[in-house]
Symmetry: C2
Subunit: 301 residues, 2 copies
């Protein structure tokens, strides 16, 4: 790190991270509402941010409230120039990228040089892809931080957050969901599942949590889900062995609405390893809908 690098404001935070901060925190934004929510919290904590939303993945309405530079997959050269121009060295990466078709990418020169790595990155699941892409950043002197480093208050707390608590039957469903997600981790697929009265109803694929819940609501309307109203738990947990700097599972008010619409009883997330967007509203909405929300101790803490 060059000695002339500008030192950021917060000395306390700097010490916590064990290394001085440099410039604004870069936030690389994939899809979903989490990137802007995390940006809000970081700004409130006193650190300036610079968002790098991925074109085609991030939501313009959300990210354009902040200083930002749109980037595209395959334009690492451009990204590097922009990051240096804005003095960003530390980054967090929030939100997933639907796996693009490799033929759809337009590569700039900076990316061409890394093509073999990129091709390797595309040959696994999401986790593999993100970790490999993350390694690009680090090799170029950027540092990828975790949400826990910059906005720990956005991570799910442990314990029941709502008026309603899970019953022993709900807890058994939660255990089954956690076990299932851990078991399929090596396939690098779902971070979510729905379990109702010991019966696995759905495992999250590329449709994402909201897609899975919409699908479940349609199945219930069609009479295909016959377990009682307010039974069944949405379980969200990172894959075992997942690099927690990338693509943490996230829940928010939309998740609560989706669980309520599909007639399930509650939401269980891995405490400290799941982003909760707008926790106050999540809890209020869940209470109003009669759902529980619980942070459960992760199995590989």
């Amino acid at each position: 790190m060059p000695a002339s690098a500008p030192i950021a404001a917060s000395a306390a935070r700097t010490q916590a991270l064990g290394t001085p901060e440099i410039g604004p925190l870069g936030i690389i934004c994939g899809g979903g509402v989490a990137p802007a929510a995390v940006a809000d919290v970081v700004v409130k904590s006193g650190r300036p941010v610079m968002l790098f939303p991925f074109r085609g993945f991030a939501s313009a309405a959300d990210v354009e409230r902040f200083p930002h530079e749109w980037i595209a997959l395959g334009q690492f050269g451009r990204f590097k120039r922009l990051a240096r121009r804005h003095g960003c060295r530390d980054f967090i990466w929030i939100g997933g990228l639907t796996r693009p078709r490799i033929g759809q990418l337009r590569f700039d020169l900076g990316t061409m040089l890394m093509l073999p790595d990129i091709i390797r990155a595309f040959r696994g699941g999401d986790n593999h892809m993100l970790t490999t892409l993350g390694a690009f950043f680090e090799r170029h002197g950027f540092r990828i931080l975790a949400v826990a480093d910059v906005a720990p208050e956005m991570l799910a707390p442990e314990g029941v957050m709502t008026a309603r608590a899970p019953t022993p039957e709900d807890r058994a469903d939660i255990e089954k969901g956690l076990d299932l997600i851990a078991t399929i981790s090596r396939f690098d697929v779902g971070q979510g599942a729905i379990v109702a009265r010991n019966h696995v109803l759905a495992i999250e694929g590329i449709e994402g949590t909201d897609g899975m819940l919409r699908h479940a609501a349609a199945l219930r309307d069609a009479g295909r889900i016959r377990s009682g109203e307010r039974t069944g738990v949405l379980v969200k947990m990172p894959k075992r062995g997942q690099d927690l700097r990338f693509d943490l599972p996230a829940v928010g008010p939309d998740t609560v609405a989706g669980v309520a619409a599909a007639g399930f009883g509650g939401i269980a997330v891995a405490a400290g390893r799941t982003i909760v967007v707008d926790i106050a509203r999540v809890v209020a909405d869940a209470d109003r809908a009669g759902l529980f929300v619980i942070g459960v101790k992760a199995r590989e803490a």
Copy 2:
């Protein structure tokens, strides 16, 4: 077995089964098109059938072409009387039952006596439920046969059935799908998955194969599936340890249409352990759509 039991016609078949046949073959019909397709094959083989379609699950249009008696879950007493009246002792069980809500069932006396068993049956996944329900039949002197016993020609053959064959990349996707389904077997959930270029896109839950394919088609329309057209494989295999007399995976012309609509490249099924409804049409439709269909050696043959 009473010595006075009427002996069925086919001596050769009788010998193959090691025990004399009694009366028509009872076909207990859950959902899907497989029950009627199996009935057609059995009738063609010269054995009379008596269908027992489950009300709310079986398709009336399909089963009413055959002698039949509608039954309902929870009416085992009625079923037993009807089966005896029609002289059925041997049964096959084709097609799944969406797990009903236990409060929705109306129990007759014959079922009430077995309520503890039924409640146990409802506490696991589909396989557990079907096996436990099947045990009821056997305890009452009925015999549950496998498709392999009565209509082996309906089981998927081994090898490539279509003009197009899977590429080495497709074969890797097939292996991954087989591995995944075997791995999640203990959760008693999916018999199907979609894998595209080493990436698991979907795992079948209660939506069933057709539901999963419709969902995938919508995701592709929405740009959420970005792997190339004609890449990606639908893999169907029974759960590891599954009682093969119940709820074998099934594919048919609808499956081919679903795979084509979702833009995937082909279908791989466990040879000898998957029902193929109307194989001639499956192959013709797949050829027309440029898809492959392959029967792969099961991992636990």
